[in-house]
Symmetry: C2
């Protein structure tokens, strides 16, 4: 269709839409069948993109999962900037809690974490995604240092790890309950660690 | 053999040896093939216990994984008691780090964590195992309160979560490096949280 309508398509527009359709289908298939049930054929069927196109561009299910995370990493993420380190940390923690407890939101990221245990390439893609997110989120610590709220010399990325780790630990390791109180406690611990210079 | 030698066998001795052989074989198969490749047949072959015995007693691969964790939970675990909360926390963190980074030790627990993403029953068994371990380890906090090292009213189990979470988070979520320095930092954060009353 687009090829027949020159001038109506942004450069790369169709390519971008194809990519979005295929990667949305990848998440949907991961949620529906898990990594073990993920096939290029099913992703192609669900997306309406021809199987040979999917094979040519992504190669395999691992290529699909890696690119889905790469697209997610490029997606704009509004980092909290409330003017208070306490509130910023709490907002980041709440975003993780909501993202993994809201029934609609949680399915795709939870499926990606499960996939990382079955596919080394998915594990690498998840690693790169989370390392990038940690670095982005660490700006809340840098800003707090600039405001004089916490001592200089702290490691912002490590503070974000301390903040997020108890949430992921309960969600995916011990499988203990997670709610807003968990986010509140995680933020309090990260703040205590920052103030004590423990990160 | 044992049945032919009454008096030479402790009550339950053969049963206990059969259980140990089957559960050792379960870990070995999990490490070798992962949960997806775990079968009662292969566990029976590896253990030298008859397949019908394994089916009758454990029912399925899920039953095997759950019982393997149940046996691990009953295994004596020397909880550190150095007389200092700082050193006790560090010793617990180091135990986790060594257990998941030593090439010989890490395979079985890492395979169990991977299995928890594929089997709800394995996830439940892992949950019960880790909740029990957290409660056992929390005694290091209780003792520190009794010694007056940290304020009363802290949550010992939550302190152990704060201590262990960054280790599991790096090992199994972000897949970032873990070494002795990670244990040292985790212990410092848990101590800061305890001193600040954040747990």
């Amino acid at each position: 269709m687009d090829a027949a309508e020159p001038g109506f398509t942004r450069p790369g527009g169709r390519t971008a839409r194809t990519r979005a359709a295929v990667l949305d289908a990848t998440y949907a298939e991961l949620v529906a069948r898990g990594y073990a049930g993920l096939t290029v054929e099913n992703v192609a069927d669900r997306s309406g993109v021809h199987k040979t196109t999917v094979y040519r561009r992504w190669g395999s299910v691992d290529g699909l999962v890696a690119d889905a995370l790469s697209l997610a990493a490029d997606t704009f993420w509004p980092i909290p900037d409330t003017g208070s380190i306490e509130q910023d940390l709490l907002a980041v923690a709440r975003e993780v809690v909501v993202g993994f407890t809201d029934p609609e939101l949680r399915a795709a990221p939870a499926a990606v974490i499960a996939a990382s245990f079955q596919s080394p390439r998915a594990a690498t893609a998840l690693h790169e995604f989370l390392v990038a997110r940690q670095e982005q989120a660490a700006v809340v610590v840098t800003r707090a240092v600039d405001r004089g709220e916490i001592p200089a010399g702290v490691d912002g990325v490590e503070a974000i790890r301390v903040l997020c780790a108890p949430l992921y630990y309960r969600l995916f390791i011990t499988r203990e309950p997670v709610d807003d109180g968990t986010a509140v406690r995680a933020a309090a611990v990260a703040l205590a660690a920052l103030r004590a210079g423990a990160v």
